[in-house]
């Protein structure tokens, strides 16, 4: 779960460590332990959504709703403001006998722009927070990781986690039931 503000890719000889688990249950319990061990720069990878995994990983709620709210309000304000300016200042016209500032007529555009901006905020905010699109990722160098879309469950811990140590972290993951642990090279 890369967050904004984190370095784009880690420095050093290793990207991190990858551990493979056989079942969702193994992965779930391992995630709880990794979370409790205090790791912060790590992720879990599964072929399908595992219920409650975000809780086991200790993921905080995304700031995305605030982005959507901010964008929605901005869009609504822009939509209303533009119409207000046009109808009262820039090009006042009498339309069907209504006053220049006929606010009910401005509501549909205000609503539409609010929705448009909120939707754009949701899509691009999500992409930005997830640092997408990302054309390549060091995890893809691992051969076993190809099974992540098939039948295997993984935890990856990145080397720039303050608690990362190539051998100790590997041993921890093995003790949690990983059936394979792999040290990944930086590219």
């Amino acid at each position: 779960m890369p967050l904004l503000g984190a370095p784009r890719l880690p420095q050093g000889p290793n990207y991190g460590i990858l551990a493979e688990f056989a079942t969702p249950a193994d992965l779930y319990h391992a995630c709880q332990r990794v979370r409790d061990a205090g790791f912060t720069r790590w992720d879990a990878h599964t072929p399908f959504p595992v219920h409650g995994l975000e809780g086991a990983m200790g993921i905080r709620r995304s700031p995305l709703p605030w982005i959507v709210l901010g964008m929605g309000l901005t869009g609504a304000a822009l939509g209303f403001g533009l119409q207000y300016w046009v109808h009262t200042t820039a090009y006042p016209l009498v339309i069907s006998g209504k006053p220049y500032f006929a606010w009910p007529a401005m509501i549909p555009i205000t609503f539409e722009l609010g929705v448009l901006f909120a939707a754009l905020g949701a899509v691009f905010g999500m992409l930005g927070l997830n640092r997408l699109p990302m054309h390549h990722h060091p995890l893809f160098t691992s051969k076993v990781f190809e099974r992540v879309t098939d039948d295997a469950f993984f935890i990856s811990i990145e080397s720039w986690d303050p608690r990362f140590d190539p051998s100790a972290t590997g041993k921890l993951l093995e003790s949690l039931g990983a059936r394979r642990v792999e040290l990944l090279e930086s590219e």
Partner: protein, 404 residues
């Protein structure tokens, strides 16, 4: 091994009101309130029958709309084969099981027909070409036939679903679920039509010159917001008093909150669209109704509706945490119940008091009388039944429900 259909997700004693529980007293309290309200209505209404009939109509419509909202809530869950809301379904079923009682509470409206509806006066119709033209629909005999039809259809659907669900508690018969699911689609269509015509008959025809083709949807939107608001309050009250506190979870509250939020927006969308088209076209026969509500103190109520029925709850219910805490959700629900009442008051009362808002003690008396009857009936049913559909095949799914 126990066959799937006989497995019990919840023991009956986990889902009934235990003896000695304070909720056992609610029927008596409700009935006392009803009696008090009826006496107050009789005393105050004798001096001012016109005010009484209008006040009664508002309160009658308020509670009727909640029962119809409950009916819709249960029907869509059957039609969509919803799983999450099974633990809340019995609350809805209990609310709409009072529909036959609503028919009795409609009688004062019939007694006040001439005070309420201008079109019921032969001399007014004779003098008014527009009313003459509408007379084939707006006449007393046909009005009575339609009202009988509405209550007949609603009671039939309500009892069909209530009895079916209660019966399943005992037999565990899966066939009930299948049968009620097949009927849910047609029942929704019938409910939509009857509810639309009822709102035209009982509210729109108060101003017989006026018409709005959106009025039925507007009434529906309000009724569904009202029921979901009631649901949030009842679910919270139950949890707080130790009923279903392990059954109705934060996840269920969250979904109630989402529905409440969504239908508050829907109500606003419909209410504004209705106003907007009339305002824009500016045709005299359409503007009269809004004109009356844009003058004097009724304009203040109109603004209050916009702010209180949409803007405030929209921002209040938007957040995640508000919907997941029972106290904050119930505050939002209680507020929207009040606003739903204000909405109906605003629809009905300007016919009686075009000069401005004139609150009356009869408004309160009628509310207590009708509300007391409905609460007494619903809580009496609750004492006699399980508080959740114990053997619905989706109960286990509902109990384990989690928002992703």
């Amino acid at each position: 091994m126990i066959p799937e259909r006989d497995r019990v997700a919840l023991r009956p004693e986990q889902a009934t009101i235990p003896p000695g529980h304070p909720w056992n007293r609610i029927p008596v309290i409700g009935a006392s309130c009803a009696l008090l309200g009826i006496v107050a209505c009789a005393i105050l209404g004798a001096a001012n029958p016109r005010q009484f009939f209008f006040s009664w109509l508002v309160s009658f419509l308020f509670f009727l709309s909640l029962t119809l909202g409950a009916l819709f809530f249960v029907l869509i869950q059957y039609a969509a084969q919803g799983g999450w809301g099974i633990v809340l379904r019995r609350i809805g079923e209990t609310v709409f099981a009072t529909i036959p009682a609503m028919a009795a509470l409609f009688l004062p409206v019939l007694l006040g027909l001439h005070d309420l509806y201008e079109w019921s006066h032969a001399e007014a119709v004779a003098a008014d070409p527009l009313l003459r033209w509408k007379a084939p629909y707006l006449n007393v005999p046909f009005f009575l036939i339609r009202a009988a039809l509405y209550f007949g259809i609603w009671s039939f659907i309500a009892l069909l679903y209530y009895r079916g669900s209660r019966g399943q508690d005992v037999t565990g018969d899966l066939g009930v679920s299948f049968r009620l699911r097949r009927l849910a689609g047609p029942a929704i269509i019938v409910l939509a039509l009857t509810q639309t015509f009822a709102s035209v008959d009982w509210i729109m025809s108060l101003t017989p010159h006026w018409y709005s083709t959106m009025f039925g949807v507007y009434f529906f939107a309000g009724s569904f917001v009202g029921f979901i608001a009631l649901l949030s309050v009842v679910a919270t009250a139950m949890r707080r008093s130790g009923l279903l506190d392990t059954v109705i979870s934060t996840e269920h509250l969250h979904d109630i909150g989402k529905l409440l939020f969504a239908f508050t927006v829907f109500w606003a969308y419909i209410a504004f669209s209705q106003f907007f088209l009339v305002w824009y076209a500016n045709l005299p026969e359409e503007t009269t109704w809004f004109r009356a509500r844009m003058e004097g103190s009724w304009m203040t109520v109109s603004f209050f509706l916009m702010a209180g029925h949409f803007v405030a709850p929209f921002f209040y219910l938007m957040g995640h945490a508000v919907k997941r805490r029972d106290s904050t959700l119930a505050v939002g629900g209680a507020w929207l119940l009040v606003m739903h009442f204000v909405d109906l008051y605003w629809q009905v009362m300007p016919t009686l008091h075009p000069e401005g808002v004139r609150p009356s003690a009869l408004d309160l008396a009628a509310l207590v009388a009708v509300g007391g009857c409905v609460v007494a009936a619903a809580s009496w049913l609750m004492r006699r039944q399980a508080l959740v559909p114990l053997r619905d095949p989706r109960l286990a799914e509902s109990l384990a429900f989690e928002n992703v």
